[in-house]
């Protein structure tokens, strides 16, 4: 277990800035995900940590020691790649043993360690299979075992699940998390998949255009995004222009419709804000036969249903603009398209960002 510190890591490719003064601390035994869209610099950051890229400037510390001058082969960091990276000429066991052989570990110890790790990743029966005889998920599990075999100080995972199909992806991410927690290994995980990051991480670092937008626990990132980018990138969000009326009240849209918010949002009364509402915080109630809109609600009309299994995503038009609501699927059946609905917002699900 080791602690990883990135201090002001800056990387330029010609005139393009890939990373702008990135600073991030990863505690011992912690799994931190770098989450962001393609081209945000997350893989560049990981490659700098691995030693495959040199930063333009900045410090990279492992347990307080600067490792930037250390070549990749001597950094003691195991890495799992996005592309299948097993050595095609070696069996699963030989792939796992490879790092140990490079360290001149005795043959019987290599075998024992490889067997132990392949069992840990559930491939004890496939030790003598070559990579082309393994499925994509199995190959990535062998790659994980190979990365762990050298007992690395830091484990680096570069979108290891992106080439796999949905079910394998979910199974394997749980397995990666299980192995990471069992071994207590410090891990940096790169992904563009927010669901993956939310489900696997101790903390998430959201990146955009080479900058760190926000670092926090998955629930914090989801519930309290600090920037509009984070709000829009992590999960689905309804966004409206609004104005703070009181500590617990904000008006949204051109209709100046008031909705309740929890106090402590930090925005000053009278100030313009961006009002962010998660779809699951929107509550709908059917208005039958020209019934009046209840107090504290505003009027809307169902435009479209998207069935997602346990919930149905409903697109609505309303006084304050178009919005999206996630409703339990059984309840959504009672509100087909063109239904008039009363729309309420749970104050706990409202987030304000000062404009």
């Amino acid at each position: 277990m080791a602690r990883l510190d990135l201090h002001g890591i800056h990387k330029e490719f010609g005139e393009v800035t890939a990373l702008a003064e990135l600073s991030l601390e990863v505690e011992s035994g912690e799994l931190v995900s770098l989450l962001g869209p393609s081209g945000c610099g997350k893989t560049t950051a990981l490659r700098i940590v691995a030693g495959f890229e040199q930063p333009t400037r900045g410090e990279l510390l492992v347990d307080g020691s600067d490792v930037i001058p250390v070549p990749a082969s001597k950094r003691n960091m195991g890495m799992v790649f996005q592309a299948y990276s097993l050595f095609p000429n070696m069996t699963a066991r030989q792939n796992v043993e490879f790092g140990l052989r490079m360290r001149k570990v005795a043959r019987d110890k290599c075998r024992a360690r490889a067997a132990e790790l392949l069992e840990l990743v559930g491939l004890a029966a496939r030790v003598d299979n070559y990579p082309h005889e393994l499925s994509g998920g199995q190959q990535q599990r062998v790659a994980l075992a190979r990365a762990l075999a050298i007992e690395p100080a830091i484990l680096l995972l570069d979108e290891p699940l992106s080439a796999l199909d949905a079910k394998v992806r979910v199974d394997l991410r749980q397995q990666i998390r299980h192995v990471q927690q069992r071994l207590g290994i410090t891990t940096l995980y790169v992904t563009h998949d927010q669901e993956e990051a939310l489900s696997i991480s101790d903390r998430i670092a959201v990146m955009s255009d080479g900058n760190l937008e926000q670092v926090g626990a998955p629930a914090e990132i989801y519930r309290s995004p600090h920037t509009e980018f984070v709000a829009n990138f992590v999960g689905l969000m309804n966004g409206f222009d609004g104005r703070v009326q009181a500590a617990d009240m904000v008006t949204i849209g051109s209709s100046e419709r008031p909705i309740g918010v929890h106090e402590g949002h930090g925005c000053t009364a009278g100030g313009r804000v961006l009002v962010l509402i998660r779809p699951e915080s929107v509550q709908l109630e059917e208005l039958v036969d020209g019934a009046a809109v209840p107090d504290g609600a505003f009027e809307g009309k169902v435009l479209m249903h998207t069935f997602l299994g346990s919930v149905t995503r409903m697109n609505l038009s309303s006084d304050v603009g178009d919005l999206v609501a996630d409703v339990p699927s059984l309840r959504a059946l009672t509100m087909p398209p063109d239904t008039r609905v009363g729309v309420r917002v749970d104050p706990a699900g409202v987030k304000l960002l000062a404009r």
Partner: protein, 280 residues
């Protein structure tokens, strides 16, 4: 009750087999193409075996093998071929690897440079090289120079074989994967890259072998008695031993090719570059 397949179902079941069966015209043109190659070969073989009117034997083969010039020139060419292969691979494997790994933008330039030996005729090449080596006259009279010239001549085949081999594997990812578990550069090349481009290396090596064994212009101009020069000499002086020599040369070349084929099948079991399992 036993179910009876309807005729349409039976037809559908047969369909895949019928689909694989080659058409009449496919077989016809395949036979025509085979005859185009086999008839001259058969004629040469028959001529090389003729020892008199309607009598056949291995007289001319025996005479050829007994000729000390045959052994000398064949072994000389074989030695040159082996040296050319070694020099070519030692020069080109690290170069192509480095271009793939660090300088991919140079690949178009490498493509152009590699086909220069096709553009420059061997006569022009040898005249040019004679001019270059005039400052080192001992070099021109040393048979070793041929190996260096043949490396240039075989460059298109060596480069393209290696380039194709390295394109078939993900050189960058494999190298980084090896480095991440502690392998230094030379061990990565030796234990990870080379085994996975073995077929490409063998392919380049055997193409080089075939070129060197049959190269006449340069060795003749530089006054070296290689196998090709010997074949040319025999061809001009004795008709039937020349036919026997042509069959021997053909057999050796095909033997080498079959060796490559069998070796790549037998030893390539674990390495299937380009084969990527889909997720299941």
């Amino acid at each position: 009750m036993a179910s009876v397949a309807a005729p349409a179902e039976k037809k559908a079941r047969r369909a895949p087999r019928e689909h694989r069966r080659p058409s009449f015209w496919t077989i016809f043109w395949l036979i025509m193409a085979a005859l185009y190659f086999l008839i001259p070969l058969y004629s040469t073989l028959q001529f090389s075996l003729e020892t008199g009117q309607h009598s056949y034997g291995f007289k001319w083969y025996g005479q050829t093998f007994a000729d000390p010039m045959f052994r000398t020139s064949f072994l000389f060419s074989l030695r040159l071929a082996v040296e050319t292969v070694i020099i070519g691979l030692v020069l080109m494997v690290p170069t192509v690897y480095w271009v793939h790994l660090r300088l991919p933008q140079l690949r178009p330039l490498m493509d152009v440079v590699s086909i220069l030996p096709f553009v420059v005729p061997p006569v022009a090449l040898v005249v040019g090289l004679s001019g270059v080596f005039n400052v080192l006259p001992w070099m021109l009279s040393n048979s070793q120079i041929l190996a260096f010239i043949y490396v240039i001549l075989a460059l298109p085949f060596t480069y393209r074989s290696l380039d194709a081999g390295m394109r078939a594997i993900n050189v960058k990812t494999l190298t980084e994967a090896a480095q991440s578990v502690g392998a230094p550069g030379w061990k990565t090349l030796l234990f990870v890259i080379l085994p996975n481009i073995r077929t490409a290396m063998l392919s380049g090596a055997f193409l080089t072998l075939a070129i060197v064994m049959g190269e006449y212009t340069i060795s003749s101009l530089l006054l070296f008695n290689t196998f090709a020069v010997y074949m040319y000499y025999i061809g001009n002086t004795e008709a039937q031993p020349a036919a026997a020599l042509a069959i021997i040369s053909f057999t050796l070349t095909w033997g080498a090719m079959m060796g490559l084929f069998l070796l790549s099948r037998r030893r390539g079991r674990g390495s299937s570059p380009g084969v990527t399992a889909v997720s299941r």
